[in-house]
Symmetry: C2
Subunit: 519 residues, 2 copies
């Protein structure tokens, strides 16, 4: 939305839910608005992509969130909007004293934030972002924080799965046209973090410093036909304009009888002129069958290096199946399947940018602590299910590596606990009382804290890594993750545990809350 004036309130401080503001005013009335509190952002379960739930997620979105926090404050126009808001009875929703406070304090300069860095492998119920600040401001922040973080995590995770299914061949993000408005830019960045090498999205590519990728569409060939020319004319014209960047889309008319032969003809002409043709793109039909046939035709013509770009409703499952089929069919035409796979490039659009099958992350931003009488009082929401009850209080999150160097569990501890001091280390299941696991120090190769300081009182205290550095973090984490956890279907369940002290504190709090409410 570009009508700047009209839509200005929609991307600033008022990019939130109404109930956050009504609660903020209530806290103001009660004198609680500047009460120092802690909220944790967690996701409750892995995204389930049409019955293929992930076994891990890739963290993403933090930089955009913090950019927004540091650049956003309430405006006089926002105040006017709130002042003009009347209930059905004609009474004003927000009174002047609250609005005066908001005019002064409607910003995020008193917020401190710890977070797990972008690109890291993350798991359910481990705080990804921990926010400290004045109660009313944290409450207003909830909506925007969830918006900024949930969606990128989904896309980064899906991109990682697609990259894995595609045997780490180049992956291009193509989805901007299927995104929710400029959310496509957020998605493209998350894809670049999670597994995409490049994106077709021009603007975000330049903003992030990655050259955008793309060649031509069916409409180009179609235009030539409409003007009385042929597919071959179209290919020749394209090759002439981009002799060193020539990838031809071969399925506008008839892939094997027209597209591929015409592409080969043009590639031969390019080669004669000293250029190196880049490859072809297939966008319809039986992509595995067509890939094998096209590879054979390209090989026979001496273009063994020409890439084959695949697109059309791809995701990790479709790519997995295509590669299986290539493995089976390639030998029948006398080609080593590996040489085919090694020339593949994937263009993944719709299903990546929308996180098809799981377009929302089950995540929450929960009040877990209140700073009162000079110490942290843990807060808890006793849900119907113990699984959904957040882990209360000021905590630390640790990752434990086994003697092979593989991540074996994420552990939440009290803020003053160091699992390194515990031998053996007893891990409690977060909701099932009967399940514990005991690790001897000798079986542990490393323990690391997952949360780092990002913002203190609104000031950035963290150096943003580049996309390249974030990818290295991701690759390192994926390398230390059990293969079983990375399975696309029915992955092994990674352990997220509590220390015994945190477990006891949580149980005590649940009991206390239930007893109190019985009165």
């Amino acid at each position: 939305m570009t009508n700047q004036k009209k839509y200005a309130p929609a991307e600033g401080f008022l990019f939130t839910d109404q109930y956050q503001l009504t609660m903020a005013q209530l806290y103001f009335r009660l004198g609680l608005h500047e009460q120092h509190v802690q909220f944790d952002h967690i996701f409750r379960k892995y995204p389930d992509y049409d019955h293929a739930a992930a076994g891990y997620c890739i963290n993403a979105g933090l930089e955009s969130l913090v950019d927004w926090l540091r650049n956003t404050h309430i405006t006089e126009h926002d105040i006017d909007c709130l002042r003009g808001h009347c209930g059905p009875g004609g009474d004003r929703m927000f009174q002047d004293d609250f609005l005066d406070w908001l005019r002064q304090e409607g910003h995020y300069r008193k917020i401190s934030l710890r977070a797990i860095p972008e690109g890291r492998v993350v798991h359910p119920n481990v705080p990804l972002t921990v926010v400290h600040g004045p109660l009313a401001i944290c409450q207003i922040l909830e909506t925007s924080l969830l918006n900024h973080l949930n969606y990128p995590i989904l896309v980064a995770t899906k991109a990682s799965r697609v990259q894995h299914a595609g045997r780490n061949r180049p992956l291009l993000e193509f989805g901007i046209r299927r995104a929710q408005g400029f959310g496509g830019n957020v998605g493209a960045r998350a894809a670049l973090i999670g597994g995409a090498d490049y994106t077709s999205n021009v603007g975000i590519s330049h903003a992030l410093g990655y050259p955008p990728k793309g060649t031509h569409a069916h409409s180009m060939v179609q235009l030539f036909l409409a003007l009385g020319m042929t597919e071959l004319d179209a290919f020749r014209a394209y090759a002439k304009a981009y002799p060193d960047n020539c990838i031809l889309l071969v399925d506008t008319v008839d892939t094997l009888n027209s597209g591929v032969p015409n592409a080969i003809k043009v590639f031969e002409e390019l080669r004669k002129e000293g250029h190196d043709p880049r490859g072809i793109r297939l966008d319809s039909g039986d992509l595995a069958f067509l890939t094998v046939q096209a590879a054979k035709m390209l090989d026979d013509a001496g273009f063994t290096d020409a890439a084959i770009v695949l697109s059309n409703e791809l995701d990790e499952m479709v790519i997995w199946q295509i590669l299986e089929q290539i493995d089976e069919e390639a030998p029948r035409v006398g080609i080593d399947p590996e040489t085919i796979v090694n020339r593949l490039v994937y263009g993944v659009g719709t299903k990546l940018i929308t996180s098809w099958g799981a377009p929302a992350l089950s995540a929450a931003f929960k009040l877990v602590g209140v700073y009162k009488d000079s110490e942290w009082q843990p807060a808890i929401k006793v849900s119907e299910s113990i699984e959904k009850t957040p882990n209360p209080g000021y905590k630390n999150a640790w990752r434990i590596y086994d003697d092979r160097g593989y991540a074996t569990a994420d552990v939440l501890s009290m803020g003053d606990e160091d699992p390194g001091d515990m031998d053996p280390l007893v891990l409690r299941h977060p909701s099932d009382e009967s399940r514990t696991r005991t690790l001897n120090t000798s079986g542990i190769s490393n323990m690391e804290l997952l949360l780092v300081d990002v913002m203190q009182q609104g000031k950035l205290v963290y150096d943003w890594p580049s996309i390249e550095q974030i990818r290295e973090v991701k690759n390192k984490d994926l390398g230390r993750l059990d293969t079983g956890v990375k399975r696309l279907v029915n992955p092994h369940v990674y352990h997220v545990s509590l220390t015994p002290r945190l477990w006891e504190m949580k149980q005590r709090l649940i009991r206390l809350t239930k007893e109190k409410e019985k009165k």
Copy 2:
């Protein structure tokens, strides 16, 4: 993304796919870049929400698109980005002559646009937006146009289905936290068009002139508990702050044993002070069962007007099932189910804003005509399937109403045809040669043109209707749509047909294209 300078290229003229720019430069090289062409935006099939495909769509997104078109032009920074883009061989992708042209012509002031207005019921393969303009600019526009229109259509359609399933009780859009960045604003507006009465999204509500809706979250009750107080204290505090807008969320602790009784206690106190309590919200558990029980408790306490707001992963199917269950269970506690339904309000978040089950619309923006030798030459893409082959050329789109006043078919005609002159009117199936349908003029009560002029040479020639007016358009269209087409599951198929002349022209073009390519 708010880092203005860094992300500026991502929301302007370069909010497009790379291949649009490489094709544009090619057209520039060939002297075709200013060739006058027509592109049609159509969707190919109704969104299929997890095996419950819609029988109609609601059009939306046009105003945002046109706002963007009228405010967007290439910047010097964009030109710098393109100038700096080099291929893998180090060669520049875009040459100076093309960039000079783009510096002059990189805007949408030469675009003309006809469209079906927002709020109208629309069907597959009928052009929703028809764009005329210079070839290179239309090509660059494709990505952004699809982005601006596809997603709002999905959300408006889903909102209409939810409203229908909910028996037209008030519907609140709650999804901003699950959206793709600021795409949540686009979604909220589309929801307001399609069926939502209000949204919780504060900024967009004020931008559009609708008061945002919302009360409080679990976190409010939880905070009181953490501070050593009770749910009742929390409710009292809230009621005191909002005595005339008091809706209490009753499921933080125990809905029937704590939440509802505490709410009733507070409502009685409010009533004593002359205030009218608004109602309660249920956000977990068996919503149908809890609704019936809570309704009985509220009735018994004399709060027969108190609303019951339902939320928690609702969509049209869940609401349908909840209402069925209420119909069955209410009589068992001696309540007329209708009185319960008539106090319901739905808060629908995740599944509406993400268009859960169908998070992308199968839509395309296709070159259908080239203006050459003073007339329109139809263009066609001969796909593998005739269903996917767009209808070529300059066309009109008509809606035919039967003698009951119901819409019976959408008909595409040649630009110079008037179906009103044909008696009988023969309708051809767009892809199946064997299927025709004949309508006598006597059985037709009305015929109307669906496309209206919106932009001519970049100038707005259309008065934007208000959201209220758009809703009236939608309600009128829904009222003239067969009940069978509106079924949530397995709806009756609405006819989209071609006139015989358009059918013949399309077939001839397909034959010609295939013959040409055989040479």
